[in-house]
């Protein structure tokens, strides 16, 4: 349970989540990838708190990450709902024209 092993696990979680976020076409699956990445961030922050700098700042970082997860999910689903209402789209590729 050293710093290195904790960070390695966190990095693995982050990369698995990133893979999901990059490959999934469905917006909801993409968000699951984002959640996984933030899970990795939380674990990494906890590891750094424990092994490098056990001050409250590290804990505040985790609170921040957890809040970001909640906000990301709420806004994500609201956007999907709005998109779905207007054009029956739930895939990232279908929403590509939003770019223009």
């Amino acid at each position: 349970m050293t710093l290195e092993t904790t960070l390695l696990v966190a990095a693995a979680l982050f990369c698995v989540g990133l893979f999901g976020a990059l490959t999934q076409q469905s917006v909801v699956m993409l968000m699951m990838g984002l959640e996984l990445m933030l899970g990795g961030v939380i674990l990494g922050a906890a590891g750094v708190w424990r092994h490098l700098s056990p001050t409250a700042d590290g804990q505040v970082l985790i609170v921040l990450a957890v809040t970001v997860m909640a906000v990301e999910m709420a806004v994500g689903f609201a956007v999907v709902t709005a998109l779905f209402r207007t054009r029956e789209a739930d895939m990232t590729d279908m929403a590509a024209e939003l770019r223009e």
């Binding site: 349970m1 710093l3 290195e4 904790t6 390695l8 696990v9 990095a11 693995a12 979680l13 990369c15 698995v16 989540g17 990133l18 893979f19 999901g20 990059l22 490959t23 999934q24 076409q25 469905s26 917006v27 909801v28 699956m29 699951m32 959640e35 996984l36 899970g39 939380i42 674990l43 906890a46 708190w49 424990r50 092994h51 490098l52 056990p54 001050t55 409250a56 700042d57 804990q59 505040v60 985790i62 609170v63 921040l64 957890v66 809040t67 997860m69 909640a70 906000v71 999910m73 709420a74 806004v75 689903f77 609201a78 956007v79 999907v80 709902t81 709005a82 779905f84 739930d90 590729d93």
Partner: protein
């Protein structure tokens, strides 16, 4: 020794469940695999000495994933995964990017000359967090609160189908809201 075993089991389950999220065909299974993964992260955070944050992660992620399952089932064309299908794009590129990133991160983690720890974890990490949030980090806390409030308003505006003009008429003068079902406080 026992602590190490717990750590490795939780880590292995967290990563394995994370991988399974994107391999399951059934959306319910994928969501709850993600829940399992994040529960393990919560357990690891508790093991690292942050009891409060670990349990809060468990609590929040459980609620979040239970709600996520609803949206997964709502928006996926094949929620139960009874007909296996692939909904992926750019798999190869993503694999290269993620594999490369992991190698890079791992190299950095292993090779970096990490400094020694400054100070010891206090007896009561929860108290330290609370005093920090209500003291030096008050601004962070207030910003978070504001962001969450903005999120609530924004999500309702984005997702609602019936606004007040639908409920109370164009001039907002209807004596009683035109709702499909009456609510609990008799409106």
């Amino acid at each position: 020794m026992f602590g190490d075993v717990v750590f490795w089991v939780l880590s292995a389950v967290a990563v394995a469940a994370g991988v399974m999220v994107f391999r399951f065909d059934s959306m319910a299974r994928a969501t709850y695999a993600l829940l399992l993964s994040l529960l393990c992260v919560g357990g690891l955070v508790v093991r690292l000495g942050l009891d409060y944050l670990g349990v809060v992660i468990v609590l929040m992620m459980t609620v979040e994933m239970a709600l996520m399952a609803v949206f997964m089932v709502m928006y996926m064309m094949n929620p139960a995964g009874l007909m296996p299908m692939s909904m992926l794009h750019n798999t190869k590129g993503a694999a290269v990017v993620c594999g490369g990133l992991f190698v890079l991160l791992a190299a950095g983690i292993v090779l970096a000359p990490w400094p020694h720890r400054r100070g010891r974890p206090g007896d009561d990490a929860t108290r330290a967090l609370g005093e920090s949030l209500m003291g030096p980090h008050m601004l962070t806390m207030m910003t978070l609160g504001l962001a969450l409030f903005a999120t609530i308003v924004a999500t309702v505006v984005l997702a609602t189908r019936r606004g007040r003009y639908d409920r109370f008429g164009d001039a907002l003068r209807a004596p009683r809201a035109d709702d499909p079902a009456r609510g609990g406080v008799g409106r």
